[in-house]
Every structure is written in C-alpha cells, then in structure tokens.
Amino acid sequence: MHAIQAVNISKSFGSVRVLDDVNLTVAGGEFYGLFGPNGAGKTTLLRVLTGQLAPDSGSATTAGVPHTDPIRLKQRVGIVPEAETPPTFLTAQETLELTCRLRGLENMGERVEHWIKFFDLDEKRDVLCRDLSKGQRQKVMLAAAFIHEPELLLLDEPFINLDPIYQRRLREYLQGLASEGRTVFMCTHILEIAERLCDNVAFIHRGRIVEQGRLSEVSHGESLEDVFLRAVEGHQVA
C-alpha cells in the first residue's frame, strides 16, 4: 500500500504556478526526502499532501485518506509545519495536552511526560509558548507531531533551530521509526542529515519533480549535495 500518492497535482497562487503536474509515490515504510531550492514548491506540496491546501487540479491520497477529507487525514498522520507556531497563550505542556484531547488519545499524562522529558522541556513546561525560544517552540511542535505515534510523519524542516544534541536525538528517533516500518516524508535543506536517513529522494524545481528514485541509484556515488545541484541546476559537478 502506498503511504502517499500524488497524481498530477497543480497549484497556483495568483499568476504564480507553484506546483506543476506533480506526481509522487511513497511506499509504506520508506524514509523519503524531498529536496529543492527556496521557493521550489516543497512546502506547498507538503501542505497539499496533508490536506492543509486544496490543489487546483490532481489528487492526493495520504495514509489512505484523500486530500478532500483533511480532518481524517490529519488524524492519521503527524505533521511538523515549516514554521514553529504552537498556540501563543498555552504553555508547552498544555499544547501537548490540547493535542492529546483533539486527537482523542488515552494515557495523556504518560504521553505528555514522555515527550517533555525527551526534549528536556521540564523547566519550561509551564511557560507560555509565546515566551519560548525558537528551538523550544520547535521541540513543542515535534513532540505534538509524535505524541500519537502515527504510521506516517510529514516533516517540513524538522531539524531547524535545534542544537546538535537534539538534532542527533531526533535523527536517531526517526531512524528508529523507519526501522519499525513507519513512513517518514521529510523536506529539509540539511543534506548531510538527509543523506544518512533517506532511502528514496525526489528533487523539485520550479514546481516540477525533476528527478526521483532510490538514493543509491540517483546518486551514482555522488554526495546528496552534488546530486541536488545537478538535479536542480542541471550542472554536472565534478
């Protein structure tokens, strides 16, 4: 079964065509990386795949749910958006409690404690999110995406604002998920980390998928950075 299937997705904002006939398939259990330069359409594609944005044409099915049923879709997956925007007037702990309630989760106390400890947010648990640092807010967003242990995670720059300790901790956690057979779909510019994690990759440029496949087949022994430059700019890097 496909974890994600996007067929002929197009999306424009005004006169700007941000996604142009995008086709993408992610199999269950894959660690999939989507890469592209700024403004290439990564975030828009992720928003379409997660039901946050309706495409102008085409269809997407994520975790077995069509994009036209966003509530059920969001119930099934974990999403980390591009910007770290937890609720302004809730504390870190309350944000996780709210998430548990909205998702109808049992064992709320245990789940919240686990993720508070995982991200070392104990001292900040009672601080309003508006007063947390960007890194702390990102930790809250990550914890909220993981708290219901979804089969499929869609992550937009998950490592942003994290210090090396938590980048490593997150990387190991995601690797663990993949080894359990869960699916991770990730957009990131941190190619060194992506290279270690991803089985399959796609490169998007000006709204079109310009190259995709297994990382080992696409790279031909090159680094992911070289593959990125070649795919996006058409440059053969020596």
Partner: protein
C-alpha cells in the same frame, strides 16, 4: 529621506496586505461604499435631522471622529510584540529595527504617518466626497464641505494621537496610564455632563465652526502633531524578553467548560487566550460600553426628529445582539491559530467554540442590561419580551457575523461585499423589531406578536446558519494568507 522611503514602502505593504486579505475588488469597494453610504446619509439628513441644530450635528460628527481616532490609535502597545518577536510568522517592515540600523521610534513615527495617510485616503476623502454630492441640495457650499472634511480629519488625528500616546504610556507604567486615563475622563466630564467647558475647547477643530478662524485649524494641527510626537518619544527602544506563566491550567479550564460537551477542549483554549491576553475585562467592558452607547444613539434620534418617542425596554433589547459584533470580532483577534492547521480541527469548529465563549461572556451582561432598563423605566412586564428579543438578536446577528467572516471578522469587514451581505441579513429585522418596539405604547396588541414572531424567525434562521458553518469554513486554512514555496 530614509523616512520618506520607509513611508513609501509601508504604504505599499499596507495596500498589498489589504489586497491579499480581501482581494482587489473588496479593497477598492471599501472607499466606494463609504462614499455611497455618506452620500445617502447626507441626502436624507436635512429631512431626518430637521429638528436638530446644526451645532449639534457638527458636534456629533467631530465627537465620532475623535472616537474613531481613539479606536485606531491604540497601536502604541504593539511595540512590545514587535520587538520581542511575538508576531509569529507575520513579517513586516516595522520589525526592521530588530536587525537593521534604524531606531524603533523612527519606525513608529513612520508607521503613524502611514496610518494617518491610509485613513485619510481610505475613509476621509471618500466621506468628504460623499458629503459633497449632497451639498447643493442641503444648501451647503463645496468649500464648507471641504472644511468639514478637514476639521473632522483633524479631530480624528487628535483622537489617534491621544490614543497612541496613552498606549505607549501603558507599556511603560500602568499606574501612569491609569492616571492619564482618569485625567482624560475628568476633562471629558467637564464638558459633559458637568457643562463647565464648551466642547470646542477640547475638540479644537470644532472651534473653527464657531470662530471661523484659521488659527483654530493651526492649533488643532499642532495639537495633533504634539500628541503623536509624545507617543513616539514615549516608545521604548528596547524591550526585555520575559517568561509568562499562568495561574490556572488548561485542563482546569476544560473541566470548567465540561458542560459545553464536545467543544469543551476548544472553549478551554479560547478561555485561556482571553484570560492570558488580559482581554477578559476589555471584552466585557466593551460590550457593556456599546450597550450604554445606545442611550447616546437614541438621544440623537429623539433630538433629531424632535419628538419624544419614549423608548422602552424592548427597544433597547433589540440592540443587544447588534452590539455583539464588536465583541465577537475582539475574540477573533487574540490568536492566529496556525497551530491548528496541523491538527484534526477545522475553522468551523473553532468558530463554534468562540460563539460558545461569546455567549458565556455576554449573556449575563445582556440580561442585566435588559432587567436594569426594565427596573429604571418601571417596565418589568416587558422584560420577558425584551429578554426574548435580546437573546434572539444575539444568536442571529453573531451567527450571521461568524458565518460571513469566520475567524477574520475585523479584516473581512473591510470587504465591501461582506459588509453589504451583513447589512442585507441584519438591517431589515432590526428595523422591523425597533419599529414594533416604538409602536408598543400605542398598539401593544399588534407590536407584541410582531416582536415575538421576528424573534422566533431569527432563532429559526440561526439554525441553518450554524449548520452551514461547516460547509462555509471547513476547507479554509487557519492561516489566512497563503504563501508559496
């Protein structure tokens, strides 16, 4: 030179932000609507307000402009949010002092100039042109209309300058802010109700119409500039980050609102926002304030027509729901809700939670208002009818507002199409119920069934609105402005 460039950039930013929120058509229709509305009012005013002295009409226009300015100018307090990075994803030119060698005071001065220019072009120019259309019929010269446009705009600028200064003070010292507010209220009391000062000594542009002296315009301009400059000078250049903790927990609030059933989680979130944003007292006070303002409106009508219409408790009850629009709008401004984009929640669910909280916060005030007027006027027998009408208009008008504007009431009311739909939904039942209320002393046998019937219709009409809320808003993202990339 830098300030002029910043002003130009901010004007473009404001225009584009406006267009992105309500679309080019809605943006262009707003001043057109003001023009048409003012033209209509100006054309009918000589007949409707035939018993009202010109001096009273001028006073009302200038007081309204001052109040408009006071409402607009409270942005002095946003400095803290800008400078401590609490605007979330919003990125505006005003945030430049965080990273560029430009002072925050300079930026606020430019921001002030931009807002003045924006309101001049977007409100006062179309308003003056609307008055000009009716000028020949009313026997007023075009020069007189131009001067009226100028003096009302100067009144607006004085109100805006005062509000800006007070809000800048509020960030520095709460006691001083309270003291200054008390002083302003004291000076206003000297004019009304004490009558110890003529209003034109406080609202200086009004003095032009009694003295016909250009000096009064000069003095008004200087006062507006001084007030604005004081606000800029009082802006803090640096803000310290802080860590806020709360005295109550989200789960406590959820238990408190357990009676709201499946909405209790979202209502608790709304409650936390209202309490922690320090908005509880302003929400309730502004609602009560608007209700009290109805006394002012009824006075204007009575004085304008020149006939005592003996407004009764049902008449006042009919306005309760209509005053709730501002309160609902206030509730929608506290949080951007972008977090909910990635949770299994849709906009209509949050709208419903806000409606529940709105009724919880205002029901007591509404009931007290109706019962209070019933007691004051010795009309306790009419109180049940008043409560029915107040309840029905509250449910209906706020239902219409939330259906049309969702979580973006303040923004979408700048879209002329939305305003026109709102008026089409809301004004006809308001007119019918208010006329019926006024007829009550003469023809109670007819008026009472009309009020009951309209109340029932409003309640029945509210049900499909709430049902269709999901279809209207379920597919809309919480972040209103789309961004590609």
């Amino acid at each position: 030179m830098l300030s002029l460039r910043l002003l130009h950039a901010m004007m473009k930013e404001e225009w584009r932000l406006h267009q992105s929120l309500v679309g080019p058509m809605g943006s262009a229709l707003f001043p057109a609507t003001i023009f048409l509305f003012t033209s209509f009012l100006a054309l009918v005013a000589p007949r409707v307000l035939s018993h009202m002295p010109t001096a009273t009409i001028l006073l009302m226009l200038h007081v309204a402009s001052v109040l408009y300015g006071l409402f607009v100018g409270s942005f002095g307090a946003i400095g803290e949010h800008v400078m401590t990075g609490r605007l979330g994803q919003v990125s505006m030119i005003m945030q430049m002092p965080q990273t560029y060698p430009v002072s925050f005071r300079r930026m606020m001065a430019v921001f002030y100039a931009k807002d003045s220019l924006f309101y001049l072009l977007y409100s006062y120019v179309p308003l003056t042109l609307g008055l000009a259309v009716a000028a020949p019929g009313a026997g007023v010269s075009l020069g007189g209309v131009a001067m009226l446009g100028l003096t009302t705009f100067l009144s607006f600028m004085m109100g805006m300058g005062l509000s800006f200064t007070l809000s800048a003070v509020s960030v520095r010292s709460r006691p001083l802010w309270l003291l200054l507010n008390a002083a302003v209220a004291g000076v206003a009391a000297l004019v009304y109700p004490l009558g110890l000062l003529p209003p034109e000594q406080i609202i200086l542009p009004l003095a032009y119409w009694t003295e016909r002296s250009m000096w009064t315009l000069g003095a008004s301009s200087v006062t507006a500039v001084v007030l604005a400059s004081a606000g800029v000078a009082l802006m803090k250049e640096r803000y310290e980050s802080r860590e806020s903790r709360s005295g109550f927990s989200f789960l406590d609030a959820e238990s408190l609102f357990g009676f709201t059933g499946g909405l209790s989680t979202l209502v608790a979130k709304e409650w936390a926002e209202v309490r922690r944003a320090g908005a509880l007292a302003p929400v309730i006070m502004s609602f009560a304030g608007h209700l009290l303002a109805i006394y002012g409106m009824s006075w204007v009508f009575e004085a304008g027509v020149g006939v005592s219409l003996s407004f009764n408790v049902v008449f006042y009850s009919g306005f309760v729901g209509f005053m709730g629009v501002m309160t609902y709008s206030f509730l929608t401004n506290l949080e951007h809700n972008e977090y909910l984009n990635v949770q299994p929640v849709s906009v209509d669910m949050v709208v419903k939670a806000k409606l529940v909280l709105y009724f919880i916060l205002t029901a007591g005030v509404s009931a007290a208002y109706v019962v209070g007027i019933g007691l004051l006027k010795g009309q306790l027998s009419l109180v049940p009818l008043g409560l029915l009408l107040a309840g029905a208009t509250s449910v209906y008008v706020v239902g219409v507002t939330s259906y049309l504007t969702g979580l973006w009431t303040n923004t979408m009311f700048f879209d002329a199409r939305v305003i026109l739909k709102f008026c089409a939904f809301v004004v006809p039942p308001m007119i019918v119920t208010e006329i019926a209320a006024l007829m009550m002393p003469m023809r109670a046998g007819l008026a009472t069934p009309v009020v009951v019937a309209v109340s029932a219709v409003l309640l029945l009409a509210s049900a499909p609105l709430l049902r269709r809320m999901e279809r209207r808003w379920a597919a809309v993202p919480f972040s209103f402005v789309n961004a590609g990339g």
